[in-house]
C-alpha cells in the first residue's frame, strides 16, 4: 500500500515540477467551475421566468369575462416546462425541445420555441454545460496529464530499475491509476457541489448520489483508458497518439455516428406527414361543431330513446355540448394513438443511438446522466403527455359546462343578434376548471430503474478496462 | 600543398548563460583525418553540429571548403557525408530502401549495383539487405550508414563517435576503411572519446576540454600518434 502511495505522490510531484499537468488540471477545474456557475444561473433564470409565465397564463385564463364556453375551448391555454433540478449540470435535450406549448380544443400542437432555435447557432458542437465539460473535455485533460505516466518511466529506464528492485508492476500501475483518478476527481468537484445544491432544491438523495457516482465511474474508466494506453506503448509519442485517437473516436465520432445511424435506420416521417392520416380519420368522426353531422346520428337516437323524447331540443341537456364532449373524446383517442406512435418511433430511434453506449463510454455516460437528471427524451414525452392530459381535462370540463349550463335554444340562436349572442354565455366562474400545471420529471424510482442498463454499460467499460490493464501489466517488462 | 577544407576560427557558442564552445580554432586539410578528442560535455557534438548547421555560432566562424556554415549550409551539406553516433534510420524501410531514400534526399543518383558494391565494401551480409531496418543490430545499422556515406562520394566526412558500440573486428574494418578513404583524397573530421581509436586513424588530434582546445597531437612522419602520450593528457584533464 505504501508503495502505491509513494508512486502516486511521485507522479503528483512530477506534475507540479513540470507545470504542464498542473496547468491542464487547473484549466479543467476552471472550465468545470465556470460552466457550473453560468449554467446554474441560466437555469435558475429560465426556471423563474417560466414559473412566472405559467402563473400569468393561468391568471389570464381565469380573468376572461363571461363567454360562450366553447369560445374558451378555442381561447386555449399555455403551459411551460420548468427545468429539472439537475439540469444545471445535465441540460440534456432541454435546449432542443420546445419549452412552451399552446393547448386548445380539437388539436394537439407541438412544443414551440426551443432554446437552440433562439440562440446564436454557435453551440452545435460544444456547449457550456458541465455535462459536456465532464463527458468530453475532462477525458482529454486526463490524456494530456497522464499519457506519459508509464512510458516516461520506461524511456528513462526508471521502470526497469523499480521492477528489478522488486516493486510489483501491479503496485506501480495502481499508484499511477490513483494519481490520475485523483486529478479527475478534482475536476469533478464542482459538479459534485452543484449536485448537492440540486439536492437542496428538491432532488432526491438517491438520485443525486447515483448521478455523482455515475460520473465517478466514468472518470475511473477514462483514467484506466489513459493508464492502459501508456502501459501498452513503448514511447510517449505513441501513447499520446493512441490516446488522442481513442478520444476522438469515443467522445466525438461514436456519438455522432450513433445519431446519424439511428436517423438512417429508422427514418421518422414527421408529424406533418402523419397529420394527413390523422385528418382522414378525424373526418370520419365528424365535425363536433356541427351537431347535425350524420356521424352523430346514432348518438342522437340513443339519447332520444333514453329520455323518451322526439326532438333534441327536448333533451334535459344541451345536445350541442353532448356532441362536443363525445367528439372531443373520440378525436383525442385518435390524436393520442398517433402521438403515442410518434413517441414510440422517437424512442426507438433514441434506443438505437443508445446502443452505441456499448461502443463508447461517453455515450453510455451521457444516456445515464440524462436519464438520472430527467432531461432525456422520455422526460420530454412526459411533458407532452401531461400537457395533453391537462388539455383534455379542461376542454372536457368546458364542454361539460356547455352541456349542462347553457340552454340549447339560447345556444343555437346565438348568431341572430347581439342580444342573443350575449345570452349565450356562461359565468366566468366556470373558467376555474383549469387545473394548474406543475411539471416535474419522472419519479426517482422510475429514473433509477430505467438507468440500470446504462449503468451496466458503464460498469462493463470499467470491467473491460480492468481486464485490459491486467493483460497489459503482464507485458510491461 | 596543404589545402584547408574544414576550418574553425575563434568559434564561440553559448546556450543561455552557459559557454559551450570557447574560442575554438582548428584547420583540417584535404586528405587529412582530424580527430577532436574529449570527454562527456567537452563540446565535441556542439562543434560538429555547428558545422552541420543545426547549431548557430554565437561568434567566430566555421567554414567548409571556404563556405561559411551560417550563410551556405546547403552547399556544405552537399559536400559533406555525416555518420551519426548512434545510427537511426527508418525502421519501416529495408536497408536498401533507406539508402535509396537518403541518396535521393541528397539528390545523388546511384545504380543498384553501386549500392550493392558499397554494402559489400562495408561487409554487410547480403541476405540482410532486403530486411526491415527494425530488425537490424546496432552494428548492421552502422554499416548501412557507412555505406550511405561512401555512396554520397562526398569530399568531406563528418564522423560522430564512429566506433562506439562496435565489436573489435568491426572497429578494425572501420579504421581500415577510413584510412583508405583519406588516401583516396577524402577529408575526415571526427569527434570521439576513444583515445586508442583516434590514434589509430588520425593524422592530427585536438584535445577538447570544457569548450577549449587544450592540446594538439600530430603524427611524426608515418608513425602513428603515441597513444600513451594522448592518454596521459586526456586523463589529466578528466581527472
Amino acid at each position: 500500500m505504501s508503495i502505491i502511495k509513494s508512486v502516486m505522490f511521485d507522479e503528483w510531484r512530477y506534475w507540479r515540477r513540470t507545470k504542464v499537468a498542473t496547468t491542464v488540471i487547473l484549466i479543467g477545474i476552471a472550465l468545470a467551475l465556470a460552466s457550473v456557475i453560468v449554467n446554474s444561473i441560466e437555469v435558475r433564470q429560465a426556471s423563474a421566468e417560466r414559473t412566472e409565465l405559467q402563473r400569468i397564463s393561468e391568471q389570464t385564463f381565469f380573468d376572461q369575462p363571461d363567454r360562450h364556453p366553447h369560445r374558451m375551448v378555442h381561447y386555449g391555454h399555455y403551459v411551460f416546462r420548468t427545468p429539472s433540478p439537475l439540469s444545471i449540470i445535465e441540460p440534456g435535450v432541454d435546449a432542443f425541445t420546445g419549452t412552451a406549448m399552446f393547448l386548445e380544443g380539437h388539436q394537439q400542437n407541438t412544443a414551440m420555441f426551443s432554446e437552440q432555435r433562439q440562440s446564436s447557432g454557435l453551440t452545435r458542437f460544444s456547449s457550456l454545460s458541465p455535462a459536456f465539460m465532464l463527458q468530453v473535455l475532462v477525458p482529454l485533460m486526463l490524456i494530456l496529464v497522464g499519457y506519459s505516466c508509464v512510458t516516461r518511466e520506461r524511456e528513462a529506464g526508471t521502470l526497469h530499475v523499480m521492477i528489478t528492485q522488486g516493486v510489483k508492476v501491479r503496485d506501480i500501475l495502481a499508484g499511477k491509476f490513483f494519481s490520475l483518478a485523483g486529478s479527475g476527481m478534482l475536476m469533478l468537484a464542482p459538479l459534485a457541489i452543484a449536485s448537492l445544491w440540486a439536492g437542496v432544491h428538491g432532488e432526491s438523495l438517491a438520485i443525486t448520489a447515483s448521478f455523482v457516482l455515475g460520473y465517478v465511474v466514468y472518470i475511473l474508466v477514462w483514467s484506466a483508458i489513459v493508464l492502459w494506453g501508456s502501459t501498452i506503448s513503448s514511447r510517449s509519442n505513441a501513447s499520446f497518439a493512441i490516446l488522442i485517437a481513442l478520444w476522438v473516436v469515443l467522445c466525438i465520432l461514436v456519438p455522432r455516428i450513433a445519431s446519424t445511424t439511428a436517423a438512417s435506420l429508422e427514418p421518422s416521417p414527421g408529424k406533418l406527414e402523419t397529420d394527413f392520416s390523422v385528418v382522414e380519420e378525424l373526418r370520419a368522426l365528424g365535425d363536433g361543431h356541427n351537431a347535425s353531422d350524420p356521424a352523430y346520428e346514432k348518438l342522437k337516437q340513443d339519447l332520444l330513446s333514453q329520455y323518451g323524447v322526439d326532438d333534441v331540443a327536448d333533451l334535459p341537456m344541451n345536445f350541442r355540448g353532448v356532441v362536443l364532449t363525445y367528439s372531443e373524446k373520440k378525436l383525442t383517442d385518435v390524436l393520442n394513438k398517433y402521438a403515442e406512435a410518434r413517441m414510440d418511433e422517437e424512442l426507438s430511434q433514441a434506443e438505437i443511438a443508445r446502443q452505441f453506449g456499448w461502443l463508447s463510454p461517453m455515450v453510455s455516460m451521457r444516456t445515464f446522466s440524462m436519464m438520472i437528471a430527467g432531461t432525456n427524451l422520455e422526460n420530454h414525452h412526459r411533458f407532452l403527455r401531461e400537457a395533453e392530459d391537462l388539455r383534455f381535462d379542461f376542454v372536457q370540463a368546458l364542454n361539460h359546462a356547455h352541456e349542462h349550463d347553457l340552454d340549447y335554444h339560447t345556444d343555437i340562436n346565438r348568431y341572430v343578434n347581439d342580444d342573443t349572442a350575449k345570452a349565450a354565455r356562461v359565468d366566468a366562474s366556470h373558467w376555474q376548471v383549469l387545473s394548474s400545471f406543475d411539471f416535474a420529471p419522472e419519479s426517482a424510482q422510475f429514473r433509477l430503474s430505467h438507468s440500470l442498463r446504462y449503468a451496466l454499460q458503464l460498469l462493463l467499460w470499467a470491467g473491460l478496462m480492468l481486464a485490459l490493464i491486467k493483460r497489459a501489466s503482464r507485458g510491461v517488462m | 600543398m596543404s589545402e584547408p577544407v574544414v576550418v574553425a576560427e575563434s568559434l564561440n557558442v553559448r546556450f543561455a548563460d552557459q559557454c559551450v564552445l570557447d574560442d575554438v580554432g582548428f584547420t583540417v586539410n584535404r586528405g587529412e583525418v582530424f580527430a577532436l578528442l574529449g570527454g562527456n560535455g567537452a563540446g565535441k557534438s556542439t562543434t560538429l553540429k555547428t558545422f552541420l548547421g543545426t547549431v548557430a555560432p554565437t561568434s567566430g566562424s566555421a567554414s567548409v571548403l571556404g563556405h561559411s556554415v551560417t550563410s551556405d549550409s546547403d552547399f556544405i551539406r552537399s559536400k559533406v557525408a555525416y555518420l551519426p553516433e548512434s545510427v537511426m534510420l527508418y525502421g519501416h524501410l529495408t536497408g536498401m530502401e533507406n539508402i535509396e531514400y537518403f541518396l535521393s534526399l541528397a539528390d545523388v543518383k546511384r545504380s543498384a549495383s553501386d549500392i550493392e558494391a558499397a554494402l559489400k565494401r562495408v561487409a554487410l551480409q547480403a541476405d540482410t539487405w532486403h530486411k526491415k531496418l527494425a530488425d537490424y543490430s546496432k552494428g548492421m545499422r552502422q554499416k548501412t550508414a557507412i555505406a550511405l556515406a561512401l555512396l554520397r562520394s562526398a569530399p568531406v566526412l563528418f564522423l560522430d563517435e564512429p566506433t562506439s558500440g562496435l565489436d573489435p573486428s568491426a572497429i578494425d574494418e572501420f579504421n581500415q576503411l577510413v584510412t583508405a578513404l583519406s588516401e583516396a583524397g577524402s577529408t575526415v573530421f571526427m569527434v570521439t572519446h576513444d583515445v586508442y581509436g583516434a590514434c589509430q586513424v588520425a593524422h592530427r588530434i585536438g584535445l577538447l576540454d570544457q569548450g577549449k582546445i587544450v592540446g594538439v597531437f600530430e603524427r611524426n612522419g608515418n608513425e602513428l600518434i603515441d597513444t600513451e602520450q594522448v592518454h596521459t593528457a586526456f586523463a589529466k584533464r578528466n581527472a
Binding site: V38, T97, N237, R256 | L52, S104, F158
Partner: protein, 423 residues
Amino acid sequence: MLFADFYREMRFLSKQRYIVLFLSAVFALSAFAVWSGLHETKLQQATIERLLEKDSVDRENVLAGQGDYGSAAYYSFHVTYSEPSSLAFAAMGQRDTFPWKHRIRMLALEGQIYETDAENPELSLFGRFDFAFIVSVLLPIFVILLLHDLRSGEKEAGRYDLLVASAKKQHKLWLSRALVITTGLALAMLVPLLVGAAITQAPLAKTVAMVLITLAHLLFWVVVTVIAGRMMLARGQNSPRIASALLGVWLLATVIVPVVSDTLINQSITGPNGGEVVLTQREAVNGAWDQPYSVTWDEFLKTHPEWADYTDMESSFDWKWYYGFQQAGDQHAAELSKAYRDTIVRKDVAAGKASLMSPAMLTQRLMSSLASTDISASLAYEQDVRDFHASLRQFYYPLLFKGGEFELEQLADMPLYQQRLSN
C-alpha cells in the same frame, strides 16, 4: 524540382502503414458523412414529394365538399417547404432545429408559423455527422496528429541530424513532407464530397467554393501546426508537448470561443420571447369575438382600404369578419414578430463576427451558407411562407367580400406555394 521532392516523399510516406491507415480512416469517415448526408437529403426530398401529393389530393377532396368560400379557406391546408439544396448533404446546418416544412391555412399566420415539426431532440443533441463537421471540428485534430511531430518526431527518433545533413535543401524536405500529407488529407476528405456533388449535380461554382473553404481551413491548420512544431522544437519541447499546445489552440477555437461568444451574445442581444408573439396574437384574435365589429374593421382597413365599402354583415357571424380579425390579429403581433425575427438576425450577425475568431465556426458558417442551410436561409424560407400566406389572402378576399355563390371553378386559380430560394 519540387515535383521530384514531392514524388520522393509520396513514395516514402506511402510505405508508412500508420499514415496510410490514418488517411484511409479519414476517407472512410468522409465517405460515411457524405453518404449519410445524401441519404438524409433524399429522405427530405421524398418527404416533400409525398407531402405535396397528399396535399393536393386532400385539398381537392376538401374543397369539393364545401358550400362557401369561408369554409373552403378554413378547411383547406397548404403545404409549404424548403427543398434541401444540392449541397445540403455536405452541411446540414440548422435544418434539424429550424423548420423546413409547414402546413398552413388562411388563419392568423403568427399562430401557425412557429410550429416546428422538429427532429428527434435526442438525435439533435448528439448532432449530425456531416461533411462540414469533419472539416470544421475534426480536420484540425487530423492535421495536429499527422504533422505536429514533422521535425520533433525525427529528432526523437535520432534521425534529425542525419536527415538535415543529407538533404540537399533542408526546407524542401519538410515542405514536401508536409505537402504530401496535406494533399493526402485533402484528397481523403474531398473525393467523397466531389462524388456527392456529382450525384446531386451541385453547381460548379458552389462546389468549388466548398472545396476552397476546406482547403483554406486545412492550410490554416497546416501552417499553424508546422510553425508551432518548429518553434517549440527550437525551445526544446518534445512531440507530445507540441501536440498538447496545439490541442489547446483547437480547444480555444472550437469550444471556448464559440461557447463564450454564445453566452455573451445571448446576454447582450435580447428581444421579445417567441411566446410573447404568439400570446399577443392569440389575445387579439380571441378578443375580437367580444369587441364591436368596428374594432376589427378599423384595424383591417388600415392595410386593406379597398374593402371599406364591403364591411356590412348579414348576421352576427360572417366569414369575411372572421378572416378580418385573423388579419387584424397578425397586424397586432406584427411589430413583436418583426422584433423577434430581428433578434434572430442580430444574433446571427453577431455570431458571424464572433466566428472570425474561431476558424472552426467560420468554416461551419461559410459551408452552411453555401448549402443554404443556415439561419438566413431558414428566415428566407419563413419569408416565403409569409408571402405565400399573403397571396392566399389576396386571392380569397375578393371572393369573401364580393359575396356571390360558391363556385368550385373560382378556386382553380388558387395560388400555389413556390420556393423562391433556388439552388
